[in-house]
Each structure stands twice: as structure tokens, then as C-alpha cells.
Symmetry: C2
Subunit: 263 residues, 2 copies
């Protein structure tokens, strides 16, 4: 099994190395990941700039190709140019921070997995919930992640399918409450900004929003992760609101035929 | 009616100015848009850097606030900090280039509108299909856009709803074939990259993909725009693949309880 591994925190992030150390137990792993941190870059891609690449050795045995682009660029470029053959699975992560709820929309980690899915490959995004009161343990999280990936894969993940996995923050000696399949919560952030002024008098703003885990419905990924479960959410990439199609298709539209003279 | 106008091509782009000239016929318009070109940035947001703002006068009568961030940042910041009150409508565009098919996923124009939608506002993204053989006419396109926006708004666009409008490239003296409500085509780009080498020997790649309008199903936005129609696609932002929820929820998962000792 050939696995493409990428992320959005960059090839030097601890999460991708921990994931690599576990994934090599499942198959051959090729790492193609952003050269720099690409958090919250969403599904951006690079079309007007060149994508520089370099082979890097991050740690003993852990080598990969760094791309100075976005996570979705890494997937496109890996599949189109860098891999010896089509991968059997694309894994993105482990992200430093949960990608549940509306964060799924902002996430570069998830975007990489979705890109792989619409290119026809099976893909899994993996993220670790970070909490101040729990020491961050990517090595431990990666073991859970590998167990989940192994089972998702063996249970018949198909090309074009994308699974979003989030891992709870586990206190020392603790364990996940279990595994829960849950839908994405679509509530927005409650945004806050700090307004400041530069020494030269220009206004600027820092995003100081705190994503409130409590503000959710109980059947969502946000609630399940909050409650200590590993979350599993199948994702798709059709943004059409099919429920509203009939409503808009039934309208009569009046468009003036020659607009430059219609005024 | 208070309208927030943004885009992804930047506040100095001709498309947003043309849109502004028409939108002022519908209500009060406040422009908050990226300082620089943000094409294909998807739904990225800025959380680790400050967002600098400046008041700019782009043309006579056309002033706005430039934000050195992403399109979605502009919407967040405008609503949270810059506008005197909640807008009645958010318009994003006119984008220089179609946002149909899988490009909807990559589009900063669409991301701004979707951000507005999940913040509870009615929103419309507007993009103009550019074709080499047809002179680009943002002023003419904006007249069509304004007619569409006026009708979408008056037909009861609700908070949280997002409509993606694409305008065909219209030859001089021509007109749109009509208006068609169509779903998003979800086929991927057929990617191609030009591989090159820097003078110092480092490999780099230019994305040279051409998005093929012919590779689509006939009931999609791509086909309708190709055939000269103004396209209307209602969008949503729940990435859950609900059809697969039962499949994954029915699985039994085995997760070793103490992973650091399970090896």
C-alpha cells in the first residue's frame, strides 16, 4: 500500500512526524507537505506563482518533499508529478488543533484530504484537539490515529471518499471515551477582534475569537470531541444546496436584453 | 438597504468598481475588500497575523476600506468592527473569471459569500466568465449582475442563504441566453504542471491546468455557463456526507485502551 502523507502545519511540524512513524507500519509512505505553516489557509491553491520543491530530511529516517505552497497544492503536485504511482490512500495530519465544526471549512488539513477525494482517491484527515490542561502527545495520538486509519481503510474506504477524524486531548493515563460518527456542526465562530493602532497611526485588528465548544447541538462532531470521543465524519465537496434548487429553478427572471442601453 | 461589497481580486480590481457603480442604485454600499489580489485563496482566514486596514479612494466617489487579509477576513472584520450596523446583504464580486464547478471550492469570491451566510446574512457571489475571444466588459456585466441581485433579493433571499451567480462572456451586441438554476459540477481539474529548474538547480512546478468546460454533465453550472446562460446556484456549507453517515455509524471500532503500551 502506497500512502501519501501531507498536512497544513508544514513538513517540520511534530504532528506529521508522529503520524509518519505510525503509518510506516501500514505501508510505504511518501511525504509531500508544505515548507511552511499553512494553518487556516482553507482550500487555497497556487496558480500564479511557481511551486518550489526540495527534498528534506526532518529526522532520522523521516524524509520528504517540501513544497512552498498550500496543502491542496501538495496533493495535486504529488499525484501529478512526484509520486511513482497513484497512492492507495492519502492522509493529512496530524494537525495541531481540532478540525471540527465550522473549522472544517477553514482547515488546510481537511482541504488536502478533500482535494484527494475529488481527484478520486480515498483520504483521511486527522487532527488532535489541543487543550491547555492536557500535555500535547502527538506520539500517543498517532497510535490512535493509525488504529483508526487501519480500520477505516480495511472497512472499505473507496476512492472519492473522505473521512475527517479528530482525536480528543487525552490526559496522562486516560483513554478516549470511544469512537463516534458525527455530523459537522455548522455554527459560526463568535468573532471578536482586538482593535489597535500602529506607531504610525494605522488601524489594525487581531482576531481574538475563541471557538466555543459548548455552543453546539449534541449530535455533532464538536459535542463528541468535547466529550472525549474520537470523531469520524464522512465529508463531501458538493456545495450545492440541493434543498433550495427547486425554489430558485421555479423563479421567473427578467433580464434586460441590451443592458448598456437599458438605463 | 445596507450592502457590504467585497471581492477576492482586491479593492483596486475593475470588477468591484463596476459592481459598486450598479449596487449604489439598490442601496447604501460599504466596500471592505482585500488590499491585494487573493484569487484562489479559498476559505482561508488570518488568525496569527494582524489585519491592517486603510481607507482608500479608488475612483471618484468610490471609497472603501482595504484589508491586508483574505476575502473571508474582510467579511468577518466588516461585520464585527467596521460596519455601522448589520448589512442587509453581502455581495462578493464581480470576480474576473468564472466560479463554477470545482472552482467554487477554490474561490475566495465564493468563500466571502459563504462566510457571510454562516454568519447569518443573505449573500450573493458574482463572477464573470472571461473568454479570450470576447472583450471583457465589467460595466455591462455589472448591469446584468445588479438585475440579478435585485431580483434575488426581492424574491426573498434569507439570512444564511448564499447564491452563486455566474455571468457569461457576452460578445458585443449579444445577450445572455437566459437564466438557469444549476447544481455545482464536482469534477476535478485535469491537472498539468510544467516542471522547470531554477538557475541554481532547484526543481519547481508551474500549474498549467486548463479547466475544461466540456467535461461536465448537462445539468450543471459549468454546462449552463458554457451555453451562455447566467447561472444561479444556491450554496451551503455543511461538508458532512449525510448519505454515508449510517454506513460509518454502524461500524464497530477497536481502539487499544493504552496505546503507549499496546505496541
Amino acid at each position: 500500500m502506497l500512502i501519501l502523507l501531507t498536512n497544513d502545519d508544514g513538513i517540520h511540524a511534530p504532528g506529521i512526524e508522529a503520524m509518519w512513524r505510525e503509518l510506516v507500519k501500514l505501508g510505504e509512505v511518501v511525504v509531500v507537505a508544505p515548507e511552511t505553516v499553512q494553518s487556516a489557509t482553507g482550500h487555497g491553491i497556487t496558480i500564479e506563482q511557481p511551486l518550489l520543491t526540495s527534498k528534506v530530511t526532518v529526522a532520522e529516517g523521516f524524509t520528504g518533499i517540501a513544497v512552498d505552497g498550500r496543502p491542496a497544492d501538495c496533493v495535486k503536485l504529488a499525484i501529478n508529478q512526484l509520486l511513482p504511482r497513484q497512492p492507495d490512500l492519502v492522509v493529512s495530519g496530524i494537525n495541531a488543533g481540532a478540525n471540527v465544526g465550522i473549522n472544517v471549512i477553514y482547515s488546510g488539513t481537511v482541504a488536502a484530504a478533500i482535494e484527494a477525494a475529488f481527484l478520486g482517491l480515498p483520504s483521511i484527515a486527522v487532527s488532535l484537539f489541543l487543550r491547555n490542561e492536557v500535555p500535547t502527545d502527538f506520539a500517543g495520538a498517532a497510535i490512535y490515529a493509525r488504529q483508526m486509519i487501519d480500520q477505516i481503510q480495511s472497512q472499505g474506504l473507496k476512492g472519492g471518499q473522505c473521512i475527517n477524524v479528530n482525536l480528543p486531548a487525552i490526559p496522562t493515563g486516560g483513554k478516549p471515551a470511544g469512537v463516534r460518527t458525527a455530523r459537522q456542526c455548522t455554527r459560526p465562530w463568535v468573532d471578536t477582534y482586538d482593535k489597535r493602532v500602529t506607531p504610525r497611526g494605522r488601524e489594525y485588528f487581531w482576531n481574538s475569537s475563541v471557538y466555543a465548544l459548548r455552543e453546539t447541538e449534541e449530535d455533532t462532531d464538536v459535542a463528541a470531541l468535547r466529550d472525549g470521543y474520537i470523531t469520524v465524519t464522512p465529508l463531501q465537496f458538493d456545495l450545492t444546496e440541493h434543498k433550495e434548487m427547486a425554489q430558485w429553478a421555479g423563479r421567473e427572471w427578467k433580464v434586460a436584453a441590451d443592458p448598456t442601453h437599458a438605463e
